[in-house]
């Protein structure tokens, strides 16, 4: 699951303002270029004035996934949708708006939003969208589909970056948006129980009123749904502090393809009774069942938040700073983000904003602390800042003096993603790499592309630059190659080079974006044949007919 880029990153920290949703970005035209790279690429983004510079002629349509991946063939065992099927769903759900029927009438406009993803990169041919309103309805839908061999794709907010939530061929879309109730919240334990279709920001605002915080935050929070977040095991910005969903999710209610309702909506922190089956649904990307509700433990919201921004001379110093931060800030450290100098220069070029630090540094870090006591935090932070300055670990730095500065500093990290799309496209890789080698990959990739004569200042070179940023605290690097156009030669240089490089260091080819359709064929770089075989056993056990989210994952 992905951090969708932010349209207006600086707004992110304003808890009360509505988060720009990825859906708004649909107006962005895409580059009408064919490519089959597995790298996540982004559409062009508007610049600071909201206009697109050098925009290519907007493509009228999104390419069908089946055309992008010509090797994929529709599985012949799946039944074709008939009027009888549609009538069944209409009778089952009752409400007219709960079924979008593209079979008996032309509903292509209504269905388009469910058939394609927000990046306008993946597009399916589905003719039917069903929106169940209860777990029982999900159960009846799945049982019927399983009995009739109708393939389905579960869909939440449809904000993924790897094409996992849109159909490839004519799979029925099961959209969870109508299941949007918060079921309960216990203020003593901080445990929230809610339907899968609750939007992340709605859940977080609900918790904010009760001085709690959802242990997950990401750019797409205004659109993405918590069920989808759990199904894709989304990472995001709070992972360093609050850990992964594998730890925070206490219970799950899910429906198996045969209609069985798995009621494991436990609100217990401890429950050592047998296999922990719910973990299979977390990050399962809807391939063995549909999550209909979750229970999750939510920490207390921190009233005191501070942000500092550093310039550093080398990646060694970045590592030293990270160690110092862990050592001296310990429990109040809530984010440690890495940005290289190139990424910050590009943000400056695109946004034209004044940079927080004068001069140019090869590396930048953003450190956030959050705690319960302002005085306590400030004292710790002061000691930390003094020590990294005195030991000359950081060359320069600023500390946000107010909320506005705090948001502005964050925008230098969060704005990267949208600024990179400025030149036409981006090859994006989301990788887990042992921390000592984290940045070496960026240098190696840049050397490789430079040697191939692909990187340059003017339009004759496809590649603008090679840069890296990411969640230092999670050893998660975003390797990005902003390009002026998608180019076969660039792809050949990047793949499988990047995957092989990561494999050699036992890293992961997809840290938080998931597999979906984009990374499906590359799983072998991160998982052994034995592991993949075990995964296939699980898939076959719970979904013997293979109707759940086919053509993706493993």
């Amino acid at each position: 699951m992905a951090l969708a880029p932010r349209l207006t990153a600086s707004l992110r920290r304003v808890a009360l303002s509505p988060r720009p949703s990825p859906l708004i970005q649909r107006f962005s035209p895409i580059c009408p270029v064919r490519w089959t790279s597995s790298a996540t690429s982004e559409p062009r983004q508007p610049d600071a004035e909201g206009t697109l510079k050098n925009a290519p002629a907007p493509a009228k349509t999104i390419q069908f996934t089946a055309e992008t991946y010509p090797n994929l063939k529709r599985h012949s065992k799946f039944a074709k949708l008939t009027q009888e099927h549609v009538t069944f769903f209409q009778d089952l759900l009752g409400v007219e708006s709960a079924v979008i029927d593209g079979l008996s009438k032309d509903a292509s406009e209504d269905i388009e939003a469910f058939n394609s993803d927000w990046m306008r990169k993946y597009r399916g041919h589905s003719q039917l969208v069903v929106k169940p309103g209860s777990t029982e309805e999900v159960s009846k839908i799945l049982k019927y589909c399983n009995d009739n061999l109708l393939a389905v794709v579960p869909q939440g907010g449809n904000t993924g970056l790897v094409g996992g939530s849109v159909p490839v061929f004519d799979e029925i879309v099961i959209n969870m948006q109508r299941m949007n109730k918060i079921r309960s919240f216990d203020e003593v334990s901080g445990i929230l129980v809610a339907d899968a279709g609750v939007i992340l920001e709605v859940a977080d605002n609900f918790l904010a009123d009760k001085s709690h915080i959802f242990p997950l935050d990401l750019g797409a929070k205004g659109s993405c749904q918590i069920g989808g977040n759990v199904a894709t095991n989304a990472g995001g910005l709070r992972l360093l502090r609050y850990g992964s969903l594998h730890g925070n999710v206490l219970g799950i209610e899910a429906v198996l393809p045969d209609g069985t309702i798995v009621d494991d909506l436990s609100t217990l922190r401890k429950n050592n009774t047998g296999y922990d089956i719910k973990q299979l649904f977390i990050g399962g990307e809807g391939t063995i069942g549909i999550i209909t509700a979750i229970s999750i433990v939510c920490p207390q919201r921190s009233p005191a938040v501070n942000v500092a921004y550093f310039g550093l001379e080398s990646f060694e110093q970045v590592q030293n700073a990270f160690r110092e931060a862990k050592n001296q800030l310990s429990e109040i450290l809530s984010a440690f983000e890495l940005m290289d100098g190139r990424s910050q220069r590009l943000v400056k070029t695109v946004t034209g904003k004044k940079r927080p630090l004068e001069g140019d540094h090869p590396f930048y870090c953003l450190v956030e602390t959050s705690g319960s006591n302002t005085d306590h935090d400030s004292e710790k932070l002061q000691t930390f800042l003094e020590s990294v300055m005195e030991k000359e670990i950081v060359s320069d730095g600023v500390l946000a003096q107010d909320q506005t500065q705090l948001q502005d500093l964050w925008s230098w990290r969060e704005g990267i993603s949208e600024c990179l799309g400025h030149w036409g496209g981006v090859y994006k890789y989301d990788l887990s790499i042992p921390i000592a080698d984290l940045y070496t990959l960026v240098n190696d990739t840049r050397d490789r592309l430079t040697k191939a004569g692909l990187v340059g200042e003017d339009d004759s070179y496809p590649v603008v630059d090679v840069l890296g940023y990411g969640h230092m605290g999670d050893a998660n690097l975003h390797l990005n190659v902003p390009v002026r156009r998608y180019d076969k030669e660039v792809e050949k240089q990047l793949e499988p080079f990047v995957y092989e490089w990561v494999q050699k260091r036992s890293g992961s080819i997809s840290a938080e974006h998931g597999l979906g359709i984009a990374k499906k064929s590359f799983i072998g770089y991160s998982r052994s044949p034995t592991m993949v075989a075990l995964m296939k056993q699980i898939k076959n056990l719970y979904d013997p007919n293979g109707i759940m989210n086919p053509y993706k994952y493993i």
Binding site: E96, A304, M389, D396, G397, V398, D402, Q403
Partner: protein
């Protein structure tokens, strides 16, 4: 002529991004455990003073930053010194005995005399009380020329040219030093206090004083009767589908 001696009064207020809440007794806004920072207009004043120094002509002899407020007001004085002010004066005033604009203006009049300032740059208003009176009252008490809501400031010799925003356009004023200027949002973009400068600011002198040091007794003239929040927005209605919406709109007579 000798150089500029700039006085910049600053105020510690609830951070502008924080939603203020009224206390239970409805006597004031809740300030305990709420993030505070420097009044944004005062940041512009500091920045402008520092930029005047960077322009070098006329030379700036000293930038003194001043605040009257609770002990924590020291934080914003240190921030101001981190941005480039030379020294600070802090008159400790407890929150309960907060000064009114006239009280502040009288206090500043004394400080101006003491510091021999010839240019006072103030924020046009503080975002907590929104009184927007102190600058004007101070100019009146000192009998100095004033230019409010400045969006551009130029000093040449003894002559100060100030562009200010008014309804329907801008107005350009000229006056001779000494004078009072209040700042508006378009004046400049305040810099960050960098860590090395924050460290240096810790060693800059910060004088602690009291109202009686200035021989002032300014009892409040106003009494706050009641503070209430604006009425909450009326919640809307949720409809199930398009049909539901149409019938609801008909019911309300909108269709």
């Amino acid at each position: 002529m000798s150089g500029l001696r700039i006085l910049v009064p600053v105020k510690r207020v609830i951070d502008y991004a924080v939603k203020p809440r009224v206390n239970r007794a409805q006597t004031a806004v809740e300030t305990a455990n709420v993030k505070h920072s420097m009044n944004p207009f005062d940041e512009l004043s500091i920045e402008e003073a520092v930029r005047l120094r960077e322009r070098k002509s006329p030379p700036v002899d000293e930038i003194v930053v001043f605040s009257a407020g609770p002990p924590k007001a020291q934080d914003v004085l240190r921030t101001a010194m981190g941005m480039g002010a030379d020294r600070g004066i802090h008159v400790v005033v407890e929150e309960k005995q907060a000064l009114e604009p006239l009280g502040v203006a009288k206090l500043l009049q004394k400080v101006v005399a003491e510091q021999k300032s010839n240019l006072v740059i103030l924020g046009k208003q503080s975002i907590d009380d929104d009184a927007a009176q102190t600058g004007q009252m101070l100019a009146g008490l000192l009998n100095w020329p004033q230019a409010t809501q400045a969006s551009k400031v130029q000093v040449e010799g003894e002559v100060v040219t100030v562009v200010r925003e008014v309804d329907g356009g801008v107005e350009t004023l000229k006056a001779k030093l000494p004078m009072v200027i209040t700042t508006d949002l378009r004046l400049n973009e305040p810099r960050y206090a960098t860590l090395p400068n924050i460290m240096k600011a810790k060693k800059k002198p910060l004088e602690k004083k009291t109202l009686s040091d200035y021989g002032l007794d300014v009892p409040p003239r106003l009494k706050t009767i009641k503070v209430t929040e604006p009425p909450p927005r009326q919640g809307g209605v949720k409809v199930d589908d398009v049909d539901g919406m149409i019938s609801k709109l008909k019911e309300l007579g909108a269709l």
